[in-house]
């Protein structure tokens, strides 16, 4: 691997957002710290989404105290897959996906089999804050497993693919499909090795794909051509994402949307500190788009108008 360098002036010219710029100029300015719990606590996000009538994966229940860990079986749906996640987890840490289970044997997407004791340990770890931000005591949330849409067959390996949409002051800016790989252990996090496929804001079609910040054309496990990826229900996804701004008031927001075979697009979670790799996946910097939005951001537009503006600005070829 040769070391390649680029001058800061080039990055600036291309409008590429850096980590410090994100933290100081966008998160620091537009994300009020008081609002963080709304997105950092997935239970709160869920409750809020319910109020706004935004679809989310079905909640099976949650465990808040170590003494309840024994009762873990109450939350496990008969003959169905499920997901256990820390309500305040970050970066996909502590999310346990169980595809199916039988006679106390729980199968992970990787094929690894866990027993009930291991499941309990995971929940108990979650409660003691192992996966949560700052090691705070946490709650383990049980959700129904999403049956993902057939449109994604072969695009994702052992995991639920989701669409990450960056919402800036209520306007969709960039979108990307996050596809899990064997390296990412079925998780949709790019820094763990998931593939990010940039999705065109106007069409919902893939633009470009990256793994570990480097471009790829085919999925490393399934060898499927990533450029053929097309996200169904695209309008609905943009709507969910844009409304997440109305729901939270956070100006720089990442909305993760999953596509369920039966229920369609659902809000999986929100992120107040979405990463920067989405730029690489989209072959474009974000800053020019932010500037285009800053011109109109003060107008009292509803989400439909905002999406229309984004489509007009960024939806062309």
């Amino acid at each position: 691997m040769t070391l390649e360098w680029v001058r800061p002036s080039v990055l600036r010219k291309l409008g590429i957002l850096g980590m410090n710029g994100r933290n100081v100029d966008y998160i620091g300015r537009y994300n009020d710290r008081r609002l963080y719990p709304l997105v950092d606590d997935k239970l709160q996000t869920k409750k809020m989404a319910l109020q706004y009538e935004i679809k989310t994966p079905d909640l099976l229940g949650y465990i808040a105290f170590q003494s309840e860990v024994k009762k873990i079986e109450e939350f496990i749906p008969e003959g169905e897959g499920f997901v256990i996640k820390p309500a305040q987890g970050s970066g996909g840490k502590g999310i346990l996906v169980i595809l199916s289970h039988e006679n106390g044997k729980f199968v992970k997407p990787s094929g690894e089999v866990l027993d009930l004791a291991e499941l309990r340990r995971h929940v108990s770890n979650t409660l003691s804050g192992l996966y949560s931000l700052g090691g705070r005591d946490d709650v383990a949330v049980f959700e129904k497993l999403i049956e993902f849409d057939n449109a994604f067959d072969g695009f994702s390996y052992e995991g639920v693919p989701d669409v990450r949409v960056i919402i800036y002051r209520g306007f969709p800016v960039l979108a990307m499909m996050r596809l899990s790989t064997s390296t990412s252990d079925g998780k949709a996090n790019l820094h763990q090795g998931a593939v990010g496929a940039g999705i065109h804001i106007g069409t919902g079609k893939a633009i470009n794909a990256v793994q570990f910040d480097r471009p790829i054309t085919h999925h490393p496990d399934t060898d499927k051509d990533l450029r053929t990826l097309e996200v169904p229900h695209w309008d609905e996804i943009l709507e969910i994402a844009a409304r997440a701004y109305d729901m939270t008031g956070l100006g720089y927001l990442g909305a993760d949307v999953v596509l369920d075979k039966k229920r369609g697009p659902m809000l999986l979670e929100l992120n107040a500190r979405p990463g920067l790799a989405i730029q690489i996946a989209n072959n474009t910097g974000m800053l020019q788009r932010f500037e285009a939005i800053d011109k109109v951001a003060n107008k009292p537009w509803d989400y439909k108008k905002r999406i229309a503006y984004s489509l007009e600005q960024f939806g062309g070829e």
């Binding site: 360098w5 680029v6 990055l11 291309l14 590429i16 410090n20 840490k93 192992l130």
Partner: protein, 516 residues
């Protein structure tokens, strides 16, 4: 954007404040910016020797007054079996020894340490009036007529007290003058007599003056003699003007230390034989900091109360280390914000660097890798035991202690002495590092462990070099206000929204691809 200017304003304010305090300390309290600077510290010893007469003896020695340009940092009187007091007579401090029935040779000592400091001003100057004690002075049987004649002559040749005295000194240097040669012949055998002659005349002329006996500190000599001089109050300039008995009006040299400033003799004794006083001066060069410390203690400066030097020595040493933490934090901030290194735990590298400072770098790194390595192996086994988090971390903690003990014993046996310092490692932090690393290993793979572990180690090593640099330690300890400068840098760095060095690499191929 307004908050951005506010930040620059605050930062500038902090820097200015810190620099002003530093300037004040350097300029007025004698602090030095570099640890090498030395200052002279003089130890002056007055030795009084005499022989007892078998009766009750009394010895009174004039002591140096508080004066401009010198800080007395210490004084001590050795007086075996003598009663000792410091008394005030005619406005002069005097050391007074007394004892009943003194026989044979006796020696008494008075020593003091003084620190020349051109900025020091005495709290009190002598009153600009003539001390009544001078009026009783006589020079043998020198008649009042001669004195009055001299006064008249000096008055006509002068316009104020200073020029009066100047004329007088000049007149006395002319030995061909009949009156003067007579005075010299009859009354003036040495400089003491000459000083007394001037004193008698000045007292008669009602001119505010003081007799002075001064020590020349400049060259270190075993035995120094006191130089008789006098001073006259200059009403125009509102200050005392020094006179050499032969040269007349002189500026006070920086190394001239007044030992006695008043009407009484340096040594006054009762019932003793062959009283003698001699002076010895030793100059030692001390680090400026030590000198400053001594001066502060003596001076009761307002800064003294807030200075670290006012703490007991062992807590001073703790603070020495504590004051280095912000330096480590600064390194962390710079490396994370400008370079973009990832570390496991924000300030873990700082604690690691502090441990390295105790263990030395290479042994420290080896020990760190050994402890974390073994810890990770053990932790991967613990994972199977299905323990609650707190219990698991505690188990790792105990393991860390165990590893430390065995590493220490084993390497001590192998003859590696440094290993004993392993105790300086922050155990809790190590335990957490192991726990976090093993989670990262599970969640993000060994790649991320290497990235964060390596990042932490690099930051720790750089922080170690920054924190152990002698100049850095000297500055933070002597000028704790440098913390304000560090704070200012960190505040400004906190608003840095430009690219990180790592991003110039991360986005390189991407940027080149789309930059067409």
């Amino acid at each position: 954007m307004r908050s951005k200017y506010q930040i620059y304003l605050i930062a500038a304010g902090l820097v200015i404040l810190a620099l002003s305090i530093m300037f004040y300390k350097i300029e007025f309290l004698g602090y030095s910016l570099s640890p090498e600077t030395k200052r002279s510290l003089y130890e002056v010893e007055a030795k009084v020797s005499f022989e007892g007469t078998g009766k009750g003896a009394f010895v009174s020695l004039a002591l140096p007054p508080d004066q401009d340009g010198f800080i007395r940092v210490n004084e001590d009187a050795a007086s075996s079996d003598f009663g000792f007091v410091i008394a005030n007579r005619h406005g002069t401090r005097r050391a007074e020894w007394s004892r009943r029935e003194v026989t044979g040779k006796q020696t008494l000592y008075y020593t003091e340490e003084i620190l020349p400091d051109p900025n020091y001003r005495a709290e009190k100057q002598p009153e600009p009036v003539i001390n009544p004690a001078y009026e009783k002075l006589e020079l043998g049987d020198l008649s009042g007529k001669v004195v009055e004649q001299l006064i008249r002559e000096a008055r006509t040749h002068s316009y104020d007290d200073v020029t009066f005295a100047a004329y007088l000194v000049k007149k006395f240097s002319n030995k061909t003058d009949q009156t003067i040669s007579l005075i010299f012949h009859k009354y003036v055998k040495n400089d003491q007599d000459l000083q007394r002659a001037f004193a008698v005349i000045l007292a008669k002329a009602d001119i505010p003056f003081n007799m002075i006996e001064a020590l020349k500190l400049g060259a270190t000599k075993r035995v120094n003699r006191l130089i008789p001089m006098f001073e006259v109050y200059d009403a125009r300039k509102k200050r005392w003007q020094l006179f050499d008995l032969h040269k007349g009006q002189i500026d006070r040299p920086a190394d001239l230390y007044f030992w006695n400033r008043g009407p009484d003799a340096v040594l006054i004794t009762e019932n003793v034989k062959r009283p003698r006083v001699s002076f010895a001066v030793t100059e030692t060069l001390v680090p400026a900091r030590t000198a400053t410390l001594k001066a502060q203690k003596a001076q009761e400066s307002i800064w003294n109360g807030f200075s670290l030097f006012s703490l007991p020595i062992d807590s001073q040493n703790n603070f020495k280390r504590l004051l280095l933490v912000p330096i480590g934090a600064l390194v962390v901030v710079l490396l994370r914000l400008f370079v973009g290194l990832k570390t496991s735990g924000t300030f873990m590298p700082v604690l690691l660097a502090m441990a390295f400072a105790e263990t030395q770098l290479i042994p420290g790194i080896v020990m760190f890798l050994v402890v974390v390595g073994i810890g990770l192996l053990f932790r991967s086994y613990l994972a199977h035991l299905n323990l609650l988090l707190v219990a698991r971390i505690s188990a790792v903690l105990i393991l860390v202690v165990g590893i430390m003990v065995y590493v220490a014993i084993l390497s001590y046996r192998l003859g590696i002495q440094e290993s004993v310092t392993i105790t300086f490692f922050p155990m809790i932090i190590l335990a957490w590092t192991i726990e976090r690393m093993s989670i990262i290993w599970e969640e993000d793979g060994p790649r991320e462990v290497l990235k964060q572990g390596g990042g932490s180690l690099i930051v720790a090593i750089l922080a170690y070099f920054a924190m152990t640099a002698p100049m850095v330690g000297y500055l933070t300890y002597n000028f704790p206000e440098t913390l304000l400068i560090i704070l200012a840098i960190i505040i400004v760095a906190g608003r840095y929204s430009g690219y990180r060095l790592s991003e110039l690499y991360r986005f390189a191929s991407f940027a080149k691809r789309i930059d067409r």
